[in-house]
Each structure stands twice: as structure tokens, then as C-alpha cells.
């Protein structure tokens, strides 16, 4: 081996440069890596050299201590690989009933609602309702983990739903679309909703009143801008029902 003190200032370049090994070792900077990756798909000899180095250097990984992932990671991955429901399934009432079973269990958790911020009523430009009705709350939860993803607060005074996301994430390039499914009926879209800030949405006119008590709320992942067809095309990311406060 060459004595380190006599190392030439200019390292070997060009033909001599073990680029595939450098790529696998991970010493290339961002731009060089991008170049190497481009070459990987265009140059089979380079790809073979990379595979050769991967096979030979990976045994080093045996020295790295394992680290247990959080318990929530697998459910997250599982939800992301779940088969998207076919559009026809969305008009299937039995399917929604099945999802509702999970939502019922969540209703019990609604005791926490007292601490949730109540949407403020606007200044009384019109006389406030004489007896403002109590808001109702739905915890829209991940069906795999039962963790609440969005809190929906129903404001009867204004016929609005206030949505507060709680760390929900969508796959890259997908939007979250909220649906309301009145008992025994088809899902009605309430539109694409943000995952990073609260939002108020008006309740559809024909859904106000008693019907909302028993309706199911569900969030699916959809193409950017929402389902192009008006029926959900993605997977159910979260669902839940209102419970009376």
C-alpha cells in the first residue's frame, strides 16, 4: 500500500476512477450522484459494476446496530399499499356500514370534545339564534390504527363543519377528499381539504338537520384537485361519525 505521506495531490481520474465503487460507497456529492444514476440506467456495464460493489460492500452493514421502528410505521405502510376501492364499491351501502362499525367505537372517545376549540361565531350582523345548538363532533380516524386524523365539529348555528387536521398525511401527489355518506345513501363529496390547517365548509343543503347525526364522514386519497368522476376512486384513509356533544 502506498505510504499516505507520499499520496499524490491529484487523485487518479478518468479511466482509473472507480466511479461505481464511489457511488456505492456514497461519497459522491449530489450532482455526481445524479450523473451516476443517469449512467446506471443507460450503461449496462456500469450497472453491473455497481451491482458488483453492492454485493461486496453490503456485508459491512452487519456492523450497524438494528433499531426498532415505531409501532405506527407498519400500519402507515399497510394503508398506503392497500388496494384502492373500485368506484362501484362506493355506492355499496354495506361497505359503508362496515366502516361505520369502527366509527361507533370512536364515539365513546368523544368525551374529549370539551377541550376542542369551538368555532367562533361571527359578529352578530344578524340576530344570533335564540338557543344556539351545541356543536357535534366526529373523530375521523385511520381505520387501521384507530388514531384520530381529523376532528370535524358540526356547527348547527351556521350549518358548517369545522375540520381540524391532526397530523394526517397523504401519499405524494394525492389530495385528501372528504365525503359524507348519509345512512343508506351514496357518498357526497364535500371537496378537497387541507392537511395542514383547519377549514370550514358549508354543509350541503339537503343534509342539514337530523340526517347529519347518522351520516358517516370519510377521507379518501384522490388525484390532485379531487376525484375527477364525482365518486371516490382512492382508498379510505380515515372515517368517523358524529356524536352528540
Amino acid at each position: 500500500m502506498t505510504d499516505a505521506t507520499h499520496t499524490p495531490p491529484n487523485p487518479p481520474e478518468g479511466e482509473e476512477r472507480p466511479l461505481a465503487g464511489e457511488y456505492v460507497l456514497g461519497v459522491l456529492d449530489g450532482a455526481e450522484r445524479v450523473e451516476a444514476e443517469a449512467r446506471l440506467s443507460a450503461d449496462p456495464a456500469f450497472a453491473r459494476a455497481v451491482a458488483w460493489w453492492e454485493e461486496r460492500l453490503t456485508p459491512l452493514a452487519a456492523d450497524i446496530a438494528a433499531a426498532q421502528p415505531s409501532e405506527g410505521l407498519w400500519p402507515r405502510i399497510q394503508a398506503l399499499v392497500a388496494e384502492p376501492l373500485k368506484p362501484s364499491a362506493w355506492s355499496n351501502v354495506a361497505l359503508w356500514r362496515g366502516l361505520t362499525a369502527g366509527a361507533m367505537a370512536l364515539a365513546a372517545a368523544c368525551a374529549v370534545i370539551a377541550i376542542l376549540p369551538r368555532p367562533a361565531l361571527p359578529p352578530a350582523a344578524t340576530p344570533a339564534p335564540a338557543r344556539p345548538q351545541a356543536a357535534e363532533v366526529a373523530l375521523i380516524a385511520d381505520p387501521a390504527t384507530n388514531k384520530p386524523m381529523i376532528v370535524a365539529t358540526l356547527d348547527h348555528g351556521m350549518d358548517q363543519v369545522m375540520l381540524t387536521p391532526m397530523g394526517m398525511k397523504m401519499p405524494e401527489g394525492r389530495d385528501a377528499e372528504l365525503w359524507i355518506i348519509p345512512e343508506g345513501q351514496k357518498a357526497v363529496s364535500l371537496g378537497v381539504i387541507p392537511m395542514d390547517k383547519p377549514m370550514r365548509i358549508p354543509m350541503p343543503k339537503d343534509l342539514r338537520g337530523e340526517g347529519t347525526y347518522t351520516a358517516l364522514l370519510a377521507v379518501t386519497d384522490e388525484p390532485i384537485g379531487g376525484s375527477p368522476t364525482g365518486v371516490a376512486t382512492g382508498s379510505v384513509r380515515a372515517s368517523g361519525k358524529f356524536a352528540k356533544a
Binding site: 500500500m1 460507497l25 453492492e54 453490503t58 456485508p59
Partner: protein, 184 residues
């Protein structure tokens, strides 16, 4: 279970993942996620970021399992390479962000690798060690550090405290020597 049958089971599971078998993906996850998280965490030193990368790795396994060829690569090599590449890409995209929490990774106990995720037959490892031992200890130390931490030449030179040109020379000469040694 010995390394050969564990490798065969993992290969078969990946082949089933290519057929959209979620249980097979769960098998792969259960047997490799702790190892892969260790690999990714060592590079990123940030648990949340490391778990994001790990999620991405298993989604890639799900979507690209058909690209795995058991004739050409061992399953753990395929998975570790995938995880390292994603973690290094993430590290590069951070730019010059100051690294925090190096202590976290270094404080991890050097536990024996989990048996099911054991990295390949011992003979491959012994061969690599034999070839690394022929290098100047400073050079082989730099090779190991580069592999574990995914550092660029520049960062590696700074971390070791030598000029950039010297580090490039150490690593390139080491790789050329290793190639000759491992080819025989």
C-alpha cells in the same frame, strides 16, 4: 435458522410481493425493518426522517419487487442498497443543514445483528475484512465511515481532518485495491 434458508425465504417473499401479496410485504418488513432502520438512522441521525425514508423504502419494495432478481443479488443486499440510496439522497437534499443528534446514533448499542436480517454468509464478510485489513488502517477506516454515514468526499475529509485531495486519493486507491483483492 441459517443464513441460507433465511435468504431463500426472504427472496421468495419478495417474489410474492411482486404479485401484490400484502402478507409477503409484511413478512419482509418484519424481518428486515429493524436492520434497515439502523442503516438509515446511521446516515440521517434523525429518527423521524429515518422512518419517513423507511416508509418510502417499503413502498418502493412494494412497487418494484419485480426488479429484484435472486439470481443476481441477495435479497438483503438489494434491500440495504435501496435503503442506503434513499437515505443518502435524503442527506444530500438537506444541503448544508447542520447535523444534529449525532450522539443519538452513536449512543445506539452495538447489538448483534438480528438473526433473520443477518447480512449474508459469513464467508463474504470474512473476505471483505481480509481485503480491508490489507489497506492502511486510516484508509480502511475512511472506507467504513463513508459506507456507514453516507458522507461526501468533502464531509468525509472534514470529519477525518485531512485535505479533500488526500481523502479522494485514499478512497479511490482503497477501492482499486479492494477490487483487485475481491476479484481473486
Amino acid at each position: 435458522m441459517d443464513a441460507d434458508s433465511s435468504r431463500a425465504l426472504l427472496s421468495r417473499a419478495i417474489a410474492r410481493v411482486a404479485n401484490r401479496d400484502q402478507d409477503a410485504l409484511k413478512y419482509v418488513y418484519r424481518h428486515t425493518s429493524a436492520k434497515l432502520l439502523g442503516v438509515v438512522l446511521r446516515i440521517l441521525n434523525d429518527r423521524e426522517e429515518a422512518e419517513d425514508v423507511l416508509q418510502d423504502v417499503y413502498l418502493t419494495v412494494w412497487n418494484k419487487a419485480d426488479r429484484f432478481d435472486p439470481e443476481k443479488a441477495s435479497p438483503i443486499t438489494w434491500l440495504v442498497s435501496l435503503a442506503r440510496n434513499r437515505a443518502i439522497d435524503r442527506l444530500r437534499s438537506r444541503g448544508t443543514r447542520v447535523m444534529a443528534g449525532v450522539e443519538e446514533a452513536e449512543a445506539l448499542p452495538d447489538a448483534a445483528p438480528l438473526a433473520p436480517a443477518r447480512i449474508e454468509a459469513d464467508e463474504d464478510r470474512q473476505r471483505l475484512d481480509g481485503c480491508l485489513d490489507q489497506l492502511d488502517p486510516k484508509h480502511s477506516g475512511a472506507v467504513r465511515k463513508a459506507f456507514f454515514e453516507g458522507l461526501t468526499y468533502d464531509a468525509l475529509a472534514q470529519a477525518v481532518g485531512v485535505p479533500l485531495g488526500t481523502m479522494k486519493s485514499w478512497i479511490r486507491r482503497s477501492l482499486i485495491s479492494l477490487r483487485a483483492c475481491l476479484e481473486t
